[in-house]
Amino acid sequence: MMTIKKKNITKEIFVYLIFIILSAIFLFPIYWTFITAFKPSAEILKYPPRLIPATCTLDQFNKLFTAGNGVFLQYIKNTVIITIGTILLVLFIIIPCSFSFALLPYKGQKIIFILVLSIIMVPFQSLLVPLYNLLTKLKLFNTKIGIILIYSTFFMPFCIFMMRNAFKQLPKAIYESALLDGAGDFMIMMKIYLPLCIPSVVSCIIYLFINGWNDFILSFIFSSSDKVRNIQVGINLFGKERFTSDWGIINTGTVIAIIPTVILFIILQKYYVQGMTTGAVKE
């Protein structure tokens, strides 16, 4: 009996050790970028490289935020405005829409639902030219509003699907009895249904935030000035500087770009995973 237990403990320790080493290797790239951001410039180009920095400074952050008259702060601001704008617009329009898809049938609804879902099927990467054409015509090229509208269109189908499922799972009898009490559709949605679906709303918000914050190609193509560019495009501009390539600045920009999404994920893991796996499992 004793020997079996002992064997088990050794095995457990062994398994844990392997897992610790494995995760250390797995997270090493992120660690390496983090410590590079805190090294002084001279040490970054030193060979052999140091695994643990000899001195820690905020020089790189200072350099990043003062470069080009603080243009990086502007990129962060743009990204925040565009992301929040997208979240607000999408929630504002998809909640009633999902509600109608779940509870308020009308003629032609099925076609509209299929149309919305077909956005998932058509990659927006294949519509870059016509979207560029459209934005130019609407005078929305290189504007935050233009980018918000495009994000909203291509990120919302998933949210509609998720919210509609959430509304549908609630018993229909609630709606009918509320209707008999004389409540309007809008009041029923806001006062009764929405409070019961808050987890799904949170999942939508996270989904939109991650997609908006991490987008590169849409912002890259549909923005042309520092007033609109987002943080990912900003990092690429620093990385593709013409005559210099400052790895201190690039790594620091990268660190700033990954912190919000990683923190959000760690705090709201459950919702995040729910948001990302909708549709994976048939209920």
């Binding site: 030193k46 005078k139 090229f141 042309s224 390539s245």
Partner: protein
Amino acid sequence: MKKTFCLIIIVLMTFTNVFAQGGMEATKESKPVMLTVWDSNAGIEGVVNKFNEKMESEGRNVRAKFELIPYDQQVPKFIASLNAKTAPDIYSLDVVQYPYFISIGAFTDITDVYESMPYKNSLPKGMLPVGSKDGRVYALPYELDLSSIIYNKDMFRDAGLDPENPPQTWDEFTIACRALTKDLDGDGVTDQWAFAEVGNSGGGYMFWFMPWIWGNNGRMFDDSGNLVLNSPEVKETLQYWYDLIYKEKVVIKTSINWGSGDRYNAFVARKIAMYLGGNFNISSLQTDAPDMDFGVCLIPRNRGQNASFAGGNMIGITSQSKNVPEAKEFLKFAFSEDVLVETYAPNLALVPRADLYDNKYYKAIPQMSIFADILAASRTPVSLKYNLIYEPVLYYFQGALLDKIPVNKAVEECATEINRLIK
């Protein structure tokens, strides 16, 4: 069903049109004149600020605002803005792009501004034709970039070379390279390289490799604009670069995939003794490598004359500008001695007027003294479809230096491809 669908489409089309027109009315300009200035070089912001101060002190309702356009987006963004009718008033754009944009009428005739300049003869003559068409002037050289070699004088001394007499010909260059390539710690692996060649950008080959071709009497275009890249002189030049890597083994091989920033970093980290840089590196080298003794010299020649690529930006007024008189005033202001010397010279950026090169800022830096000579040796190739040259040049020249295509074949196919594209 089909009917409904068609109806939706019609409604949709109407919507977009209504929006489009609504948008147009909304952008009617307001009373005060606001000049938009685009540049890929942030230096001009100082000019804009000085201009605004002047306008304010004179109590005039004219202001300028500056927008930084990243170098690799300056053409796409310009095209987009011309298309959207939102082009800036003033654009300081890469010199090589002007022939095309002037040919499609994107710039305004500023011959009168040029003629009124008392210092017009001090503007670089090699660049002026690029901004002119049929005897009219559409753009003027403004922010200059000259390709040259920057070398580490300490490494020259350690290798027994004279740091004050850098190599001028290919033969001298090869000899210097052999002396500068070293295995410092004796482990059989080279850790100090003589040189790094151009790597992963087509623009880089034009700016830094073309002067080697010129120095061997080769050319890309002849005087009537025909492509003459397919010549023994060009093949010889590419072969020379190839030999430096594979025969002489004095060029760090990984540099074939570097950008100019990587070359700069390697020079700062003292991994290479000489590199292809330019005036734009001088002030940053002073901050990044304050204890390094470095010199600047011309790119070596073989059968021809030492040459340099006169790059950088020319400045012009776009044809969509609604404030041409004010924009012309801005141009004249931007070329005045005070503005040029006090805005650009302190950062060691090259000013376009040769009569201003003995200013106190350049004089304080010994490395700046040679740029007047380099400017005199510099030239700019003219092509209407310059943008289309980059791709094939990168593909074939890098391919040859990576040892993936034989040198002669690379030059021939590159010429065929460029001819096909610009036809």
